[in-house]
């Protein structure tokens, strides 16, 4: 049993088109697994009027059409679905391996992150690429995955002044989280490496490499491998 998992779902009103369903009050893999299971169950058996289900750390936001259903009807639908959850087949999460070239021009903050924790760059790479991370939420920019949990020894605050331009594919750290910038954007995370994979590509039939609930493992690669993979991904 996990700390912070509610005994029963908690409903919050998010206007006349949104219902927020909370399953706990912590960033926790067990709570997030519950969120994922409910999101999948809702995808398989959507109640009438549901437009979109958005899973995050510990809650689901359900967007609905108030001309077709109401908040109170949805609450009943959700409680009924939750009771039947054990009967619904929830597939195991997908595991995605992400090659990352750490340090150098690809990870300009690797050395300072290492120094601030009294570690060598090699130790930071080893510690960062060791765990299997859970995608808790996608947001901020198209396809940006918020990954947890980052080993505590690497927790590092954001830059006080965000960079105006972070290249696509940059792998960063912000406090207890790690993530990947899918498109070039401003950003304040500590950049320790970069992946040649396209996390977001609107031209692909499925533009998104990751979804909430997936598992992610980083694989360190050399600059040569980075260049080879970046060319192979060229389209």
């Amino acid at each position: 049993m996990s700390e912070g998992l509610y005994e029963r779902a908690r409903f919050r009103t998010a206007g006349d088109r949104g219902l927020l369903v909370e399953y706990g009050d912590a960033i926790d893999p067990v709570i997030n697994r519950k969120v994922r299971a409910m999101a999948i169950a809702l995808g398989k058996e959507p109640p009438e009027g549901v437009l979109e289900v958005i899973p995050t750390y510990r809650s689901l936001l359900i967007l609905y059409d108030p001309l077709l259903t109401t908040s109170s009807r949805l609450e009943k639908d959700l409680l009924a679905l939750e009771e039947r959850l054990p009967e619904i087949q929830i597939p195991p999460p997908e595991m995605v391996e992400i090659p990352v070239c750490y340090g150098g021009e690809y990870g300009p903050d690797l050395e300072s992150v290492a120094q601030s924790h009294g570690l060598s760059s090699e130790e930071v790479i080893r510690i960062h690429s060791e765990p299997t991370y859970q995608v808790y939420m996608i947001g901020f920019t198209p396809g940006f995955p918020f990954l947890g949990r980052l080993p505590e020894v690497l927790h590092t605050p954001r830059h006080k002044t965000p960079r105006t331009r972070v290249p696509a594919g940059s792998v960063g750290i912000a406090n207890d989280q790690t993530g990947i910038y899918p498109i070039e954007s401003p950003g304040g995370w500590q950049l320790i490496g970069r992946t040649p994979l396209k996390i977001f590509d609107p031209q692909r039939p499925n533009p998104f490499l990751l979804k909430a609930g997936d598992l992610v493992k980083f694989k360190p690669i050399t600059p040569d491998e980075y260049r080879r993979l970046a060319e192979g991904d060229g389209d």
């Binding site: 809650s59 001309l67 947001g139 940006f144 918020f146 899918p182």
Partner: protein, 314 residues
């Protein structure tokens, strides 16, 4: 079929439609026309499906050279419209011909106007929508606001058999003192005195007001003592009113996906159109309503749109 050459783009003109649904779970916000009522009526006036793509024109409009015969209609904010320097009316269909120059000038009331054209603005459909999401550089015309020299195309459709005009009783007014109806929550339990201040005070729209959100200025809305000011990041809905630690409300709008501040209330969906027509300096008050009232207001608006459809069909 090419329909417009952009001679001057205006301050901020984008292609928008109903919005991009189903991708917020991947970090793609809804986008779409901010004032959905004016947007839908613009399409009805030229005989389009209500979800066709239009131009959303902010504060100061573009100058467009017409490249093919078509019907256009301008709705929403009151901006002086000219065709070849002759004044033309809003909320009515206007026939334009090759060589005509359509121009919209400085807004007189409201903030955003909508220009619909026969067949709809034709840009590639990206993830189910033609709406521009500027922050993600996708959708619309090359993922950005219009620029001088852009060439816009329209979809195939027949011109109207008879001109259409919206009966004046359906035309909204856009006052500079705006009342927004809002439902408490999702985090109203993080506030006590703050709720009274929020629903009892007047706020001013700051200069930080765009399609992502409207930052307001006014009395500080305090959190309940001992309650955290931020929460675990969660998805946001258009109309959610975030209270950051400085106590100055931010109305979250259409180009926003997640947020980590508490939301004291949510503006009802029909009143997002009122926010869309608010500009910096305008005054805003919030009125507390419950869900049932909000559903009722939405049904009434749908009935009004149904009447408008019947007017044009008759």
């Amino acid at each position: 079929m090419e329909i417009f050459r952009v001679l001057e783009p205006g301050i901020y003109t984008t292609v928008q439609d109903r919005g991009r649904y189903g991708y917020q779970q991947f970090g793609i916000p809804i986008s779409g026309a901010m004032d959905q009522f004016a947007y839908r009526v613009a399409n009805l006036l030229v005989g389009n499906p209500e979800d066709a793509a239009v131009l959303e024109i902010t504060v100061f409009g573009p100058r467009l050279e017409v490249l093919a015969e078509a019907d256009i209609a301008v709705t929403g904010a009151e901006m002086p419209i000219t065709i070849n320097d002759e004044a033309a009316e809003g909320w009515t269909s206007l026939r334009v011909r090759p060589g005509d120059v359509v121009a919209l000038k400085q807004v007189r009331s409201g903030c955003r106007a909508y220009l619909a054209v026969t067949g709809g603005i034709d840009v590639p459909v990206v993830m189910g929508s033609r709406s521009t999401y500027v922050g993600g550089k996708l959708g619309g015309y090359q993922g950005r606001p219009l620029a001088k020299g852009d060439l816009l195309a329209r979809g195939p459709a027949e011109p109207l058999k008879a001109p259409r005009k919206l009966p004046p009783n359906f035309i909204p007014r856009y006052p500079s003192e705006i009342l927004l109806r809002a439902i408490p929550g999702p985090q109203d339990d993080y506030f006590d005195e703050g709720l009274r201040i929020f629903f009892g005070s007047e706020f001013k729209v700051s200069t930080k007001a765009d399609r992502m959100g409207y930052r307001l200025e006014g009395p500080v809305v305090p959190h309940r003592e001992g309650m955290p000011q931020s929460i675990i990041s969660e998805p946001s809905v258009p109309g959610g009113v975030q209270i950051p630690p400085d106590g100055q409300p931010i109305i979250l709008l259409l180009e926003q996906t997640v947020g980590g501040y508490t939301k004291i209330a949510t503006v009802i969906s029909t009143d997002i159109s009122r926010v869309a027509q608010a500009k910096p300096g305008d005054k805003i008050r919030f009125e507390e309503v419950d869900l049932e009232t909000a559903y009722g207001i939405l049904r009434a608006q749908e009935q009004a749109l149904q009447k408008i459809r019947e007017t044009f069909a008759g």
